[in-house]
């Protein structure tokens, strides 16, 4: 295991309306790791991810990315932080008025990349996700799975040290989801640290990776090679099978 890419040190986020997003979270993600972030809706997954993207400030604690304290990062440096984080979202977040090629090229353009560099890297990244034939289509001409592949190609084209996926398969059918997860896994194999927030229980169980579980803003579990359901939940479910439905629903 390499050096930590992400370090949360007693991080607390309380929103302006008093809602607790994350409370006293301490954890570290090392270089090259594949980490699932699980928990019910409203548990703090989004807060966790948005803190990493520095969409807002932590109320307390320090948050380091690649050894740098991003809570001390000035506002005009935020774009440079984001260029080092490949982000994939449930709703794809593609630019509607650009072709597949231009969508991927945009994240290189913002860094001031040369045209030669763009011409070389964009097709390569799109080949990796299996979309070489749809370079000149617009997002609304693609299926959900294809759109998500474009967004992964865009996230990966800069070869960021960290990739964050927020419910990447949330809008996709199980078969397509599997393809997307395999793609993310392959990217992880190239050495990119990957953090995946998900509700997809089956996927987490099958992949046997490190799992960080959040509940009501608290970090309640952090295990390697684990499944979705926590030991306590599994234990409780074993004792009383009728509980399982409730726990899943929560």
């Amino acid at each position: 295991m390499g050096s930590p890419v992400v370090e949360f040190d007693h991080v607390t986020k309380i929103y302006d309306d008093g809602t607790v997003g994350l409370e006293n979270a301490t954890t570290a993600i090392r270089q090259g790791e594949f980490v699932f972030l699980v928990g019910p809706t409203g548990c703090g997954k989004s807060t966790f991810i948005r803190l990493l993207m520095k969409e807002f400030e932590a109320t307390e604690g320090t948050l380091m990315i690649a050894g740098r304290d991003i809570t001390k990062l000035s506002r005009d440096r935020i774009p440079f932080l984001r260029r080092n984080i490949g982000a994939v979202f449930q709703d794809f977040k593609l630019l509607p008025n650009r072709t597949v090629y231009d969508n991927v090229a945009y994240s290189l353009l913002v860094t001031g990349a040369s045209r030669a560099e763009i011409r070389q890297k964009v097709p390569h990244s799109l080949r990796l996700v299996g979309l070489s034939t749809k370079l000149h289509n617009y997002p609304d001409q693609l299926s959900g799975g294809e759109q998500q592949r474009v967004s992964i190609a865009r996230a990966f084209v800069n070869h960021p040290p960290l990739m964050i996926c927020d419910e990447p398969t949330g809008n996709l059918d199980p078969e397509t989801s599997l393809g997307i997860m395999q793609l993310i896994y392959r990217i992880n194999r190239t050495g990119t640290t990957v953090l995946v927030a998900t509700h997809d229980k089956g996927m987490v169980d099958r992949m046997k990776r490190r799992v960080i579980e959040l509940k009501d803003g608290h970090l309640v579990r952090d295990e390697r090679a684990a499944g979705y359901t926590s030991e306590f939940n599994a234990y409780a479910a074993d004792l009383d099978p009728t509980n399982e439905g409730e726990l899943r629903a929560s």
Binding site: F56, P79, F80, R82, K93, L95, S107, L109
Partner: protein, 298 residues
């Protein structure tokens, strides 16, 4: 800064997502057109008002028996007054010569020239007429009885009633015109601003995505500003062309017949075009850049 890239980005948006831009274009065009008609109208109205005001003057009638020294001293005094722009001497003969019509033969009938000589003092500012009159009068300690500062003065007239009427009416016209102008410019700016705001609001998701992949604020903003320049220039240009056609087909043929249109202070068309184009492009570009600010906050 990669200017070519930002320009091509702006053109891409105009082509792919033209509906909001067309709305902004039409708004700019209509407001520019309205301003283009209103500016000359304001100009003509205030010009005419100023023309009327400039005719106001103070007439100082002299006694027939005033000595030359007294007259010369009075002339000096008037000329030294800082409110007075110019002083003209009208002799008895000049006054008589200026009479026309049935009064022309008055001296023959009367056997002598009944008209007094006078000074005509033109004020720097028409509003100062009464100050000039006041400077020629002295009021005795017990009030009421007015005397004049020079024995040569027989009477001082500024056609008081007319003066006050003219001043208040022309003042009112100018004030109303300025008020309307300010209101119109403000309305135009708000209208254009709001249209731009809507067109950017429709694309806020796009801005969000751009920020997410690490675009700096100016990298996002420049294409919007350039697009604003294009839209403003197009709207302004079409409006100016319409004004030009309007001017050449309707105004110019009849302008000889109406003195109003020939008022000397009417703005010339080149200046009007310049003002309108700068305003259209400026408001449109600045509007785009400023509205974006809301969506660029972290």
């Amino acid at each position: 800064m990669n200017f070519r890239f930002f320009t091509s980005e702006a053109i891409r948006t105009l082509r792919r997502n033209s509906a909001p831009s067309i709305a902004a274009f039409l708004t700019v065009m209509v407001t520019t057109l309205v301003l283009g008609v209103f500016i000359p109208i304001t100009n003509i109205a205030t010009g005419a008002a100023n023309d009327v005001r400039s005719r106001l003057l103070v007439e100082v009638f002299l006694n027939d028996n005033a000595t030359e020294q007294q007259v010369a001293a009075l002339r000096k005094k008037l000329a030294a007054n800082s409110d007075v722009k110019s002083v003209t001497y009208v002799s008895k003969e000049d006054a008589l010569a200026s009479l026309e019509g049935p009064l022309e033969d008055a001296s023959e009938v009367l056997g002598s020239n009944p008209l007094p000589a006078s000074f005509q003092a033109v004020p720097n500012d028409p509003d100062q007429v009464s100050q000039i009159v006041a400077s020629l009068e002295t009021t005795s300690a017990n009030g009421e009885k007015k005397t004049y500062v020079s024995p040569a003065i027989n009477d001082v007239q500024n056609r008081e009633d007319e003066t006050e009427k003219i001043l208040s009416i022309t003042g009112g016209v100018k004030f109303a015109m300025w008020g309307l102008a300010i209101l119109l410019v403000l309305t135009s700016a708000l209208l254009v601003g709001n249209t731009i705001r809507l067109s950017i609001y429709a694309r806020r998701r796009e801005v969000e995505v751009m920020r997410m992949v690490g675009a700096t604020n100016w990298f996002i903003r420049w294409p919007f500003v350039i697009e604003g320049i294009f839209v403003g220039a197009a709207g302004g240009l079409v409006a100016v062309l319409m004004l030009l056609i309007f001017k050449q087909t309707i105004i110019d043929p009849v302008s000889d017949k109406f003195a109003l249109f020939a008022a000397p202070e009417t703005i010339n068309f080149v200046n009007l075009t310049l003002i309108l184009m700068v305003a259209a492009v400026g408001i449109s570009a600045a509007g785009s850049g400023l509205t974006l600010r809301r969506f660029l906050r972290a």
